[in-house]
Symmetry: C2
């Protein structure tokens, strides 16, 4: 039985209530020490030998197994590295090879733009008349028809927090003969996920949100074990080769998920992520979800009672919502800048969404109430009208 | 006028002569402090705000410009991120779009396997009858014929150190109507490179070798400024979009080399690389090359005089050689393990190549002589016959 929150595991700044862990998780205390060790002792002293002596070459798989534990993936089925966009491309390219007679990639209009962009790039690269369809999220299930090659969805909508039913949609995709890819960017470490039970062919995700791996932390990709030997890697880099150091002229994929590795792994970022994952040891994901729901429900109730100018832009039903709550407000950009200035950090997503993430590892109900105290003042007294909050200088 | 070496800028372990900076450069002293700053102050205190306040979003371009300065690329023409294999794929996919009526990718048999593998993966993804040709390095120029879509070569051969003439081959490629891609993995920071003068469309490279960016440091890609607006990105991630944070449903590439960015940049690794590049401030690349040639010539002379069982596997002519020297020896694997055990660190490449890199930033002629002293003992007395050196446990 874990106890949440675990604030002592993170270095959180004084005077800040951090409701943006769904965008970039905070610094885990063990990460700084770990990166020092990797740099000064492993890189500094062992130099090239550290690939062996410090087990750098095994680190991507080790970290993959730890992430796998949080999403119901068996050991050896998750590869790590690159960015989420790259992992989307890998999954999508492999999926299209499995359905050679079909020409439709089905996603939804709520998917994160980069997932859609990567699909567009792949379509342009192959140049054989593929089509990307993006109906509204609630219309996706019905749009899964016989011509669909692959269904590619992000489980939790990055703007609204709306959640797809992974199992139901995957079943529908399979019934129509399509391959299923889930993007777990806002799911891993946020909501209970069981990729094995849902039976999807692929899942991808990033590790700098709820997993707290740091800015630009490596992404992950899961391939269902029974299909991995049929996965044809588009990004067939040497570290996905069956024998990378044999330096053979021809590519032969590894007979495991390792074939979805590409180039030399980013050891410093992987080490930081590995240290960050320590915060998950012993966490029971059901308990985490219950805490997340309680935080989100309390936040919605407090905001609706005290900030009536904000309109809920997330599903009201907790079971249909991820671990974030979004409110629509026409002056949301300025209002968010004013909140951040007061130490309540969420973020803004065009055109009018104020987004707040709830992360039970380091946020509790006192934080929620304290955050809404500030929101009530900023919105009730319209302190966001200060011209300094109108300047659109933020890039993220 | 610089003074080489600059050993004081690196944390080199006691008792080690490091002749493997062509595989993984050593730890620059400023890098440890820099990563601490990024983690504890920027990530820890600024959290998500650091994308703006610590200029994380601008870091990939800043680092790209610094690398550009070492390869003759103008400001704004080099994007950083991902791995070299990914950058090869990007360049190759874009090049094939520029030559739609041709079907041959020409490389050479000495190219680094991952470059060839990525070409094979792209060929399989497009699936329109492309062919990868890999003649011997010395036969490449003659193999550039009218049907060739793209010539993709690594300037300095990773095994032999043999160097292609970038300008002459690029001219020949252009005369035949082909696009030219240079992989500078063993060139950047090793030999004088001028991508502008050579006029190639693309150049790619990694930063963990001569640039000392650390294990898994980000790669780079150069696109010639006059063609960049015609580059069609295959890996069309959100950070290559003209307006990433507008979250538009359709991909619109940035009107610069930024379109070759893909996903969220690896900030920790970029910061380390940025700190590592400080070691290059004020280095005159002609002076570096002269020092490199002197080190290599001395090494060859000493080894040939004192270790006659080793056969030179690099060009004897300094002008045709990069900043490494390779020797063939049937028992090279065991011999290299024995050398490493004695503190002389080079590496081994199958089937029989003992490879030694020369990096004038932190290696001088005294190191060369001391290294050959050890080699003379290990090879002359066959200490490599110890069974512990025969175990093939090293993965790199």
């Amino acid at each position: 039985m874990t106890t949440l929150p675990r604030k002592d595991l993170f270095d959180l700044p004084e005077g800040v209530i951090y409701l943006d862990g769904n965008s970039l998780g905070p610094l885990p205390k063990g990460a700084t020490e770990r990166v020092q060790e990797v740099m000064t002792r492993e890189w500094g002293q062992e130099l090239i030998r550290a690939w062996n002596t410090a087990e750098w070459m095994a680190l991507p798989a080790k970290v993959g197994d730890r992430i796998g534990g949080l999403i119901g993936a068996p050991a050896g089925s998750v590869a790590t590295g690159d960015t989420l966009s790259i992992k989307v491309y890998q999954a999508l390219a492999a999926a299209l090879k499995m359905t050679p007679d079909r020409r439709v990639i089905l996603s939804d209009a709520g998917n994160f733009p980069s997932d859609l962009y990567m699909a567009q790039g792949l379509i342009g690269t192959i140049d054989k008349g593929y089509e990307l369809r993006t109906p509204a999220p609630e219309d996706v299930a019905e749009a899964i028809t016989e011509g669909v090659a692959v269904v590619m969805l992000t489980q939790v909508d990055y703007r609204s927090g709306r959640m797809h039913d992974m199992k139901a949609i995957t079943e529908r995709a399979h019934a129509a003969g399509a391959v299923m890819i889930w993007d777990l960017a806002h799911s891993a470490g946020a909501v209970p996920v069981d990729v094995t039970a849902c039976n999807a062919e692929f899942a991808v995700g990033c590790s700098y949100k709820y997993l707290n791996g740091g800015p630009g932390a490596p992404a992950f990709i899961y391939a269902r074990p029974d299909i991995v030997e049929n996965v044809e890697p588009a990004l067939s880099g040497w570290l996905g080769h069956a024998a990378p150091f044999a330096m053979e002229p021809g590519y032969r994929p590894a007979m495991s998920t390792e074939r979805l590795r590409v180039g030399t792994p980013p050891i410093l970022q992987l080490a930081v992520l590995d240290a960050a994952l320590d915060a998950w040891d012993g966490v029971e994901i059901g308990e985490l979800r219950a805490a997340s729901v309680a935080l989100c429900e309390r936040f919605i109730a407090e905001v609706e009672a005290r900030c009536p100018m904000l309109k809920l832009a997330s599903p009201r039903e907790a079971g249909q919502r991820g671990s974030q709550v979004s409110f629509a407000f026409e002056e949301g950009y300025a209002a968010m800048q004013a909140l951040i200035d007061r130490g309540v950090i969420g973020d803004f997503r065009a055109p009018d969404i104020m987004r707040f993430g709830f992360t039970p590892l380091y946020i509790d109900e006192d934080d929620v109430v304290a955050a809404v105290d500030v929101m009530e003042d900023v919105l009730g007294n319209e302190t966001w009208r200060d011209p300094k909050y109108q300047v659109k200088s933020r890039v993220t």
